[in-house]
Symmetry: C2
Subunit: 493 residues, 2 copies
């Protein structure tokens, strides 16, 4: 089955409906929004096995992974619904009048931006797609959502969209709260981002795609925010004391992380950096041995498999790059072959191709001559979603300059762990300095993601009965508020 | 006295020093930052009368206003210092490990972006300039600041910069925590915004200037955020029931607001909209009478006086525009003459020139045929810092559609008051939808302004003793934190 690209006229109609729905949806209570989010989860689950089957057909992902991702997506919907109701994201601030000083009563809260356009990711057909984190957090904020289905799993997107339509109807909300369009062309994307009723954009995908949306959004008559997650090589720094203690264990841990989900995670560790010595050689040797035994996996779609094959080939063909290990299990069509290569820091400095992400089960180990070179490699890195130190406390002290620098280039800083596996929690920062994302100040995972779709509005000198509930003296929502510079969940006397 | 524009080499040196200082300054405690901010206030005050005299010479502002603005600026420094120490802006979030589910310990807090470049405003030589709100909030966040002095008050800026330098030295901080350069050309601005070590920009001024900075920042290899406040006509909607009750009082209130500070406030009410009837005519008549008696005031500098003269003339020359009243007090050179004009809504729809800000003591009254036209005028307005309703509760009900729409186009929504007068408080939103500012999601007044200069960073699986104080189990800063989705200022057991 294939779907026709939405025409400019169809996109205009969808955005008009979203705008119309916004006028009602922005006034819904937090409970109404949370109910919608939970109902979407229920409706998704109600599709049952058909949904799992279609995703597996479209993405080649194994059943367990697909079921886990569905569960995660429903958890996102329900946990962001709880965060929506708790109302911390409203950031209510109240300063009561001080007549002696002529200071008026001012009360501020976050209000929704308006219709949000979401471009889903090919590698997460549920969690970062039609009913994924962007959609869930925008609905919590009070924004209608228009999803452009990812062409690589368009049927899955249709099924999930229908679940959302049913939920919107069951909750008695205007139809335009959710819109769904197809489109494989840049033109569809451009029409969505440049539509006057579009107020913000969420995107997960390639640098080329995300940067194009960002530029279109900034060139509008009225620029709008674009939250694009665009890729990351997630550097791992192997510090010497740690490696001396446990080179083998670290190698085992990373063999798993590099090949998890056939390397198709945005947090896949694509670059491993260490000081060249006997312990690093042990690590390389052990990692290579493990990689040889790991079977290739079928990649999400032919485009991704082709890109992996080409980028991997280009990397391995660089004269400074030495192949360490390639999976010895025979590969079928469209499969990604686990691969480890290595190069010196000097080669890394001189060859920008070695800085590029090879999306799939591939990792490049950089061998540094000394501590200074290790820091210089870090200084050559662009913004990342994550960075990881494998380090003892002694290493942390010995490499304080590196620790400082690495903080500057990532959104999540991991100590003695792996970057794959993104916990859905308020403390999660999934987003990092450009070019990992277009805006390092926001996260796309965790309830803080709601903040992407709102802006503050102050009400000055409003009568209490005319104010939104979040700002009324009686605190009818029982939320935490800053009242005259003090945090409280009390009513105002 | 005149100052030479900084060369590209000088700018590079200042930014290099800022970057170097950032490596130390980011690690300072909240108390150290707050001490610096308070010391800047003390040092500014210590300059004494010389500072007041120089400002008055450069800006022609009256002494009382200058002294008030100095007091306000010191209040900003000390109140943001208190907010810095209270630490709510750190947004500390902790989710402890759940080993059964394989969930690692993750802790998130806001960290400083890096060196911030500030372009001060000509109309606030203290409060929005060298030691103004942008500088104070960036220092609170842990960011070094480089100020480009406004050429219209370069000597004032020099004096204040020296006070900051002394404060930095007294606090034992690296010199590069603050930098100060001169420059009247676009080239200076461009060199500052495009320097690789610049991580964010604050600006208050014209649309042309702010938009240029925004575009340069977005076209960088690594785009950076620009917080530019660029102007606003601050519409006032006079609703019929309110006007029936108190047309005279409203006119008196607005005669004062329109001419306050010779109309040189970004929150000056430049557009007043009402339904044409006897009450509106009473309002126009009364406002005109009051305006005739208000003396012209000397404007900040010849450039502003010239621009006011030209824009006022262009507006009054439009054939659809009728002059209501002009101050009858003779005007001296470089003075802004209080002026009120009027036009129909139809004229407003057809002539985009009538939508433009005339920076100075000028306001245009739009006469609508009916309620529908009133809403249509609102729909023709671009983003604003403030919008105001003069309305009774009956008006609010009768014009619910207008109330909804106006929320969408402003950052601060005032009921039965005037937009001039910006309370420095946490609840203040000073910022609005484009083109009022480049980013409606942040404020330039109030301690929430600190949030412009930070981004979240998650620490995963870090040992307690290696974490920043804000995230340690014992909560040594005694700040409020979200711990496992609950707000608390307790330590973690």
């Amino acid at each position: 089955m294939s779907f026709k690209d939405a025409s400019v006229q169809e996109i205009d109609q969808v955005m008009q409906e979203a705008w119309k729905a916004f006028q009602q949806y922005r006034k819904t209570t937090l409970k109404q929004r949370a109910d919608l989010m939970r109902t979407i989860g229920t409706e998704m689950e109600a599709i049952g096995d058909e949904l799992i089957r279609v995703v597996m057909e479209e993405t080649h992902l194994p059943e367990a992974r697909v079921k886990n991702e569905r569960a995660r997506t429903i958890f996102q919907l329900t946990s962001y619904a709880a965060a929506c109701e708790a109302g911390h994201w409203l950031e209510a601030r109240i300063d009561t009048a001080v007549p002696d000083k002529g200071d008026p009563d001012i009360r501020k809260m976050q209000v929704p931006l308006g219709p949000v356009v979401v471009f889903g990711a090919s590698n997460f057909p549920f969690a970062y797609s039609t009913a994924g984190g962007d959609t869930a957090s925008a609905l919590a904020a009070g924004c209608p959502v228009v999803v452009k289905a990812h062409p690589a799993h368009a049927r899955t997107s249709e099924l999930v969209a229908k679940a959302i339509f049913r939920a919107v109807e069951k909750c008695g909300l205007p139809k335009g709260v959710f819109g769904h369009v197809h489109g494989a062309s840049f033109e569809t994307g451009k029409a969505l981002v440049t539509h006057p009723h579009t107020r913000a954009v969420g995107f997960t995908g390639s640098y080329g795609g995300g940067k194009a949306l960002f530029d279109w959004a900034n060139q509008r008559k009225t620029p709008i925010p674009v939250f694009a997650e665009m890729g990351s090589i997630n550097p791992i720094f192997l510090l010497p004391d740690k490696l001396k203690q446990s080179a083998k264990e670290v190698a085992g841990l990373y063999a798993g992380s590099i090949t998890l989900g056939t390397g198709q995670f945005c947090t896949n560790p694509g670059l491993i950096i260490g000081i060249d010595n006997e312990d690093l050689q042990t690590f390389i040797h052990e990692l290579g041995d493990a990689i040889k035994k790991i079977a290739p996996g079928t990649m999400l779609h032919p485009g991704i498999a082709k890109a992996y094959g080409e980028k991997r080939k280009a990397a391995l063909e660089q004269k400074e790059v030495e192949t360490v290990a390639v999976s010895e299990v025979p590969a079928k069509d469209q499969q990604g072959v686990p691969t480890i290569a290595t190069a010196t820091a000097l080669a890394f400095f001189n060859n920008p191709l070695l800085h590029q992400e090879v999306f799939g089960p591939y990792s490049l180990i950089i061998r540094c001559a000394d501590k200074a070179e290790l820091l210089t490699v870090a200084e050559h890195l662009e913004g990342q979603l994550t960075s990881t130190l494998m380090a003892t406390e002694k290493d942390m002290k010995d490499h304080a300059g590196l620790v400082d620098h690495v903080q500057d280039i990532c959104g999540r800083f991991i100590l003695n762990g792996v970057p794959t596996g993104v916990r859905v929690a308020l403390s999660m920062q999934h987003g990092g300095p450009f070019p990992a994302t277009t805006d390092s100040r926001f996260t796309s995972v965790g309830a803080d993601g709601i903040k992407r779709w709102v802006r503050p509005l102050s009400f000055q000198n409003w009568a209490d009965n005319l104010l939104p509930d979040a700002l009324k003296n009686s605190n009818p929502l029982s939320i935490w508020r800053m009242v005259n510079d003090k945090l409280t969940d009390n009513a105002i006397a």
